[in-house]
Symmetry: C2
Subunit: 129 residues, 2 copies
DNA sequence: TGATTAATAGGAATAATTCCTGTTAAGGAT
DNA sequence: ATCCTTAACAGGAATTATTCCTATTAATCA
């Protein structure tokens, strides 16, 4: 595991992810930073997203229309995903009882590293088709 | 929405998905049926998986290593996904309190169509690295 | 200030999924 | 039973999100 150096672009990515509530895709992060970093490469975005996830600073939310979405908010919470427009919205924490996942791990023999609750449906705007 | 005709291959896909507990990918469904249906096409597998999902007979479980996984079990339950070997296992139903999602829908303005709880970590075999 | 190597751009490569064209066959109408 | 409409299909091409590769740049430490 190599040491992590300071990187302007990675810092900007994390700042963007923390500032937005939109749970952007890699492409959207790229488009969002391209104006400020004209020589930004999409490969750099993917590499840094992966690294930020490994560091636990960013979470993968799930794939929407074939594209992974990322979240810079690390406090535990859940997500709503619109099946029509692909919008990802935050929901309050929704989880089974305290210690529930741990007990299941013992029972089924796994070690839980993370868990998530996702609601899918139609958002306010898409309801009226 | 066109009428749904009887199809040997689609029936076989559904039977396979209902019989297995492995939550296979499209490719795995294809490989599993190829012996019995030598002229089966991967495009057919994808098309029928999509249709079965629309009909509510099959559920998408989530992407593991870039591949979507499918589940023929429609009774409500949750899933464990191994971060190392990609194994998907069933867990008992884990959900927030009765009516909780409905209340959130009212509060946040969405219409929920489905929800899922996913635990990720290391399975029994992968624990010992 | 120089050495080491993480970070990067840019473009090529990979691979899951979708699309397209001509053919086959399910099932209702005759 | 036979004809008609069109859903289902095979096979292969196209699309596209993501990863990989190579040479270059720059962060950090001695």
């Amino acid at each position: 595991m190599p040491i992590v150096r300071q990187s302007k672009k990675r810092d900007a990515m994390l700042a963007l992810l923390r500032a937005t509530g939109r749970h952007p895709s890699a492409e959207q992060v790229y488009q969002g930073l391209k104006p400020d970093y004209p020589d930004l490469s999409l490969a750099t975005v993917y590499r840094n997203l992966g690294q930020l996830c490994e560091q636990g600073l960013v979470r993968r939310v799930g794939t929407v229309n074939g594209q992974e979405r990322y979240d810079g908010q690390t406090a535990p919470h859940s997500h709503f995903i619109c099946n029509r427009c692909g919008r990802v919205a935050d929901l309050p924490r929704l989880s089974p009882g305290e210690g529930c996942v741990e007990r299941l791990g013992v029972q089924y023999g796994f070690t839980a590293e993370s868990w998530e609750f996702i609601v899918r449906g139609l958002c306010e705007d898409c309801k009226e088709f």
